[in-house]
């Protein structure tokens, strides 16, 4: 019994138990459990890539990537370019991905260079680099030379809108791709497959020469250096890959949501992703693909189901507060643990 607790971990056990109670309550309250599971599946796929983006950063020894907004902003610009060209469907989505990834490569490289000069303070510097980038881009959104009337304010005729609807462009392209339903539960097959595909890529990457070198650089820089690994280069690679996955992640997120959110929306985006990977059992220096998948599954299912259940039981929406307490508590717990 004790070994089981140790292997699963206390946070996961608590959240798992909490989830079971919520599901039981949902059943008792006669809530549409099948529909809840369907929307949980969508939210898992929707947030999964952003959580996966934490892995290269943690593995390369950069800690939790609080600088995720860097990738998010690249991805958003990619989507805006695709929208400006009035592309739609899968072509529009993949073009947005392409532009986003192309932008995130230099962005991530520069971010990696910066992080190499601020060793030991990567997380704090990342957080505030992200914040200032998001705030700085707010000015860009106001002044950017985009012309498509779907994206700019109707009144005044310039400046991008706060939320841009994309449902007629590439909204839901992955969600609806090969969607099927089993016993009343709708499965967004395209979305989940896309997430799974990226998971496999990250998993396979960890077995390549470079992947092993990166892991060594993160675990024990001095040892890695002694065995001929260029630690600085591996850290830059980790930052870049993390940023690229952030760019892909926001595109996946936006196509599920049906909106591109600008201005201050990306400000806090790193925190739920960080919390999810930690909930999945990762620490600030160790993380596996399994951690990311388990974390996002637990976290998003919890968020999906806690809203209707608490609403029907106590008549108020406690899910936002629960999200704040659980996600930030999880991060705080990881930061105060004696390791790393």
């Amino acid at each position: 019994m004790r070994r089981l607790v140790e292997r699963v971990g206390v946070p996961r056990l608590l959240v798992g138990l909490f989830l079971l109670i919520l599901f039981a309550l949902a059943g008792l309250q006669r809530l549409p459990v099948k529909m809840l599971i369907s929307s949980a599946l969508v939210r898992i796929g929707m947030n999964g890539v952003l959580v996966l983006a934490m892995l290269p950063s943690i593995r390369a020894g950069l800690g939790l990537n609080f600088g995720l907004p860097l990738g998010v902003i690249s991805g958003i610009v990619g989507m805006l370019v695709s929208l400006e060209l009035r592309l739609s469907g899968l072509a529009g989505f993949f073009f947005a991905l392409l532009v986003g990834v192309l932008l995130s490569l230099p962005a991530g490289y520069v971010y990696g260079l910066l992080l190499n000069r601020v060793k030991g303070e990567e997380m704090m510097v990342g957080t505030y680099m992200g914040f200032s980038l998001v705030a700085g881009m707010c000015m860009f959104w106001l002044l950017a030379p985009f012309k498509n009337p779907e994206m700019i304010w109707v009144v005044g005729g310039k400046g991008l809108r706060v939320t841009i609807p994309i449902s007629h462009r590439f909204g839901g392209v992955l969600d609806n791709l090969g969607k099927f339903s089993i016993g009343g539960v709708e499965v967004p097959a395209g979305l989940l497959l896309f997430f799974a595909f990226l998971c496999v890529l990250v998993y396979l990457f960890s077995f390549t020469r470079t992947g092993m070198a990166m892991k060594a650089a993160g675990m024990n820089p001095a040892f890695a250096r002694a065995s001929g690994v260029n630690v600085e280069k591996m850290r830059i690679l980790g930052a870049t890959l993390s940023t690229v996955l952030g760019a892909v992640g926001i595109a996946v997120y936006a196509q599920s949501l049906g909106f591109v959110q600008l201005y201050l929306a990306p400000l806090m985006m790193a925190f739920p992703a960080v919390a999810a990977v930690l909930l999945g059992g990762a620490s600030t220096s160790r993380a596996t693909v399994f951690n990311a998948v388990a974390g996002v599954t637990l976290f998003q299912t919890l968020l999906t189901i806690s809203l209707p259940v608490t609403q029907s039981v106590i008549g108020g929406d406690i899910s936002e507060v629960a999200k704040l307490i659980i996600s930030n508590g999880m991060i705080l717990y990881a930061l105060t643990r004696k390791e790393a």
């Binding site: 000069r117 060793k119 030991g120 303070e121 510097v125 705030a135 000015m139 704040l324």
Partner: protein
Amino acid sequence: MKVWRKIRESLTSSPIPLVFGILCLFGVVVSGKSWSFLLQEVVTRLARNWILVLSLLVPVSAGLGLNFSMVLGAMAAQTGIIVMTHLKVPGILGFLGAFIVSFPIAVVLGFVAGNIMNKAKGREMIAGMMLGFFMNGVYQLVFLFMVGTVIPMKNPDLMLPQGFGLRNTVELKYMKYALDNLLNVSLSGLVIPLATFALIGLVCLGLNRLYKTKLGQDFRAVGQDMHVASVAGIDVNKTRLLAVVIATVLASLGQLVFLQNIGTLNTYNSHEQVATFAIASLLLGGATVTRATVGQALAGTFLFHLLFIVSPYAGQSLMGSPQVGEYFRVFVAYGIIAAALVVHAWEAHRRALSAAKRGLPEGETDRAG
């Protein structure tokens, strides 16, 4: 010539206040606002914000860096204000009452924060920030769900119609200007809240006195080198804990002064930006993560709020959109913190590198730097 050299030295040693001073001056000219308008705005904002910024000094000197957990003090203050508004205590009595209620809460929260930072040595700032976010969740849980259910309270003025939870905005009709109006002086149209400035002066004096005591010296010793301090017989953890408790209590006092001037409490948002703006203010005065003085805190607040006031007007006249200016000041707030953190980490990294080259252990250079 000697004068020139002195000026040059002081400018090169603190380029940040200079750069932002010029930026402010530019903004003032471009905004096209009258001096009397700007002066009144600045005086009001200095009275409102100075104590919050001053509360950051003790943790910096004790080596804990920028105290992002000051949000906890703000929450304690808001709890005090909510209690006094519920009891309908008017004026300065309400202000004092709010302080008396918030004081023990701030001490307890400061104790919690200090313990967490002792557990997260080397990453106090990020831990403090996450603690702020976490306690924000707890704060919402208490005031949105527990008030009226677990905690018995009935007050339709303060509470949501559903019977539990506080309203999003609470009008502080009993406490507005409680301190400001205690002693107001009008100087040819310029209104100066003397009582508030007297309190600020008291805090400054208190801080200066604190640094001369044994405890103040301990803060500095721990801030410079924890290892050396502990060898010298200082209880490092306890000293750090005390620094955070003092900071949290001061932050709660600061938030009380802030809110009595604003006059409305945004129950769930008033405290969120407190740390960002206060820390940005301190850094604009030329402070760093490891060194901050009362003078820097006072000057930085002046610069930050002058910039805050003129930005929208400058944005309007330069770009034809006040919003650009509004985002610009948010950008400055975050950007200055990012820049200060980068400079701090970069220097520590360089020191470590040169120490490695000379074959010294890291602690040796820490003391030298």
